[in-house]
């Protein structure tokens, strides 16, 4: 039987903690299924934020991640999950992946020098699984994927969160997933989002930041395939040279940024969701900055099952 579509809100953990918690309470009240707490070296520590969300909610599932094994040892990930589940019940899931290359570079990690990243991720997934089972827990482990290399190993995970926003890009990824087939693999879309009733330019600006982070964190091969490489490589180089995104954000073309974000009014969203559903997507996570507007988060109620 076909499962109902599950919806979630992604929080970036750089909003005020109180806002994150209150939004989570509101999302639970609206019937959303997930809060995903993002993690990166410059954000708040996601397991602590997850505990603050869990303390004030009772049903909503809480995802940790994406957690990068390049900064979190497998036993750290296991320890966080075991502690959270011991304190708040078995409503946690985790997503692992390499992480944002530009953020990792800030803490001295050069992803391009990591040998056989896919094998590392598979090994870490197995370690997490074994560690949690030892403690009597069974947790869904997702992989965050965008390029072909990671999509190909998605079958070793319970689900894959795709860092795409457009149905045509999701379709490309789903075709790869299907060619490596695994029954019951959950497919989620996790994208910077701004679903609005009335568009607010300050939120749109934040969407650009979030979308640019995804675009400039994409691998060269992904950008080449999408046809954006030539127009973005200069900006990628600036980040690699330690410039900060805000120094040149305004120069990144809007049309590219919109490819990496779900930015639409509520009525149009239903059509996008039905496209996702047709492609086999089971989860849609509306990531930052959707969380920032209560009014705009309320538009997420009553989405199609």
């Amino acid at each position: 039987m076909e499962e109902d579509m599950k919806y979630g809100l992604g929080v970036n953990a750089d909003e005020r903690l109180q806002d994150i918690v209150e939004s989570s309470v509101e999302m639970e009240r609206l019937g959303l299924h997930y809060i995903w707490v993002a993690d990166s070296p410059s954000l708040r520590y996601s397991p602590v934020i997850a505990s603050a969300v869990a303390e004030r909610t009772s049903k909503i599932r809480i995802g940790l991640g994406l957690l990068s094994p390049l900064i979190h040892r497998p036993n750290h990930i296991i320890n966080s999950l075991v502690t959270l589940m011991d304190l708040y019940g078995e409503r946690f899931e985790v997503c692992i992946g390499p992480g944002d290359i530009n953020q990792l570079r800030r803490v001295g990690i050069d992803v391009s020098t990591v040998k056989s990243l896919p094998n590392l991720l598979i090994r870490v997934r197995e370690e997490i699984d074994a560690g949690l089972r030892r403690e009597g827990f069974n947790v869904k482990v997702w992989i965050g994927a965008q390029g072909r290399r990671l999509l190909e190993i998605s079958r070793f995970f319970d689900g894959v969160l795709l860092n795409y926003a457009r149905p045509k890009h999701v379709e490309w990824a789903v075709n790869i997933l299907n060619s490596y087939g695994k029954d019951g693999l959950y497919v989620g879309v996790y994208a910077p989002s701004y679903i609005y009733k009335v568009r607010d330019e300050s939120l749109y600006k934040l969407l650009r930041v979030s979308s640019a982070t995804v675009a400039l964190g994409a691998s060269d091969s992904t950008l080449k395939r999408l046809g954006f490489y030539e127009r973005l490589r200069g900006f990628k180089r600036l980040l690699a040279e330690d410039s900060r995104l805000e120094d040149f954000l305004d120069e990144i073309p809007d049309d590219i940024l919109e490819e990496f974000a779900i930015c639409t009014c509520r009525s149009e969203l239903t059509r996008i969701i039905s496209d996702f559903k047709r492609l086999g997507v089971t989860h849609v996570i509306f990531s930052y900055p959707q969380v920032l507007s209560w009014e705009n988060s309320a538009v997420l109620s009553g989405l199609p099952a």
């Binding site: 708040r44 397991p47 304190l87 570079r105 803490v107 001295g108």
Partner: protein, 325 residues
Amino acid sequence: MMLDIGVTSSIQRDRLISILRSIDENVFHCVWIGEDLDKPYDVFVKASFTLMNTYLNVGIGITSIFFRDTPTIARAAASLSEVGRGRFRLGIGVGGLQHLRSMGVKVEKPISSMRETATLLRRIWRGEIVSHRSSRLNLRRYSLCCPYSHMIPIFFGVRGLRLLELAGEVSDGVILSGPKTYLEEAVCAVRRGAEKVNRSIEDICVVVWLPTMLTLERKHLESARRIVAFILADTPLSILSLSRIRVDDVLILRRALAEGGLDAAARLVDDEMLNEMIFYGDAGDICNSLLSLERIHVDEVVYGPPFGVDEAESIIKVAEAWKRI
């Protein structure tokens, strides 16, 4: 002098809640959470839960700077400070060498690494964009996304005299543990370090955390002997040599631990070792012993574990005795 309470990160939820409910918030000042490196619990998450379930200060005492990288400690502590609205205290140290080694964690240059960590943590919390390169770290224009208004107090949980001197130089506080006769020497080392940089011992919050057990019967001390055996096995001989405990006896105890396990080692814990390593007696005895540390400039003392035969009742009795005294 303030009275604190101590637990470890592996404490189960119901037990932690029971302890938090037993605490008289007018008597106790801080809940310290020690990190059990060999148990699958996240000390930061436990601290978050504790902050949300008490009005007291909550401190981590301690987490190893070699177990997690500095940015992770920085952002976890900043998150906790926000959860606790400024009530969080961060204890850092080298950590249990045996546990770290068993996890494949390398410990190199502890003194310069502790100094480096404390300095970087403060720069990161101030909202600076930090570039820094050393054998352990390579930060390139790194900063936290959100500013933090509270400067989080950094406590050093260290034992060696040189590290204690460093604590006097750079920390906001120090958590001391070890034989009672060593504590005085330890405070002197902190004072020396403080004076080197024109600070005074009064500028540093000195906390003592030793096992404490409320008991009226000698038979209950058997569990305390096991704890003492375990601690003695991990206490550096250089520290023991500054106390009344005979180093040769500890070496014999360690051999017994290796060959016959904890029970065999516990049988070798004599009264001298017990008296040096643990506070015990009735509630009045314990409070008087703890208060006696005031003469060596101790500002806070930590009660627990093992607390007593009945944890919750012991905590209540000690709080009542503390109020009386």
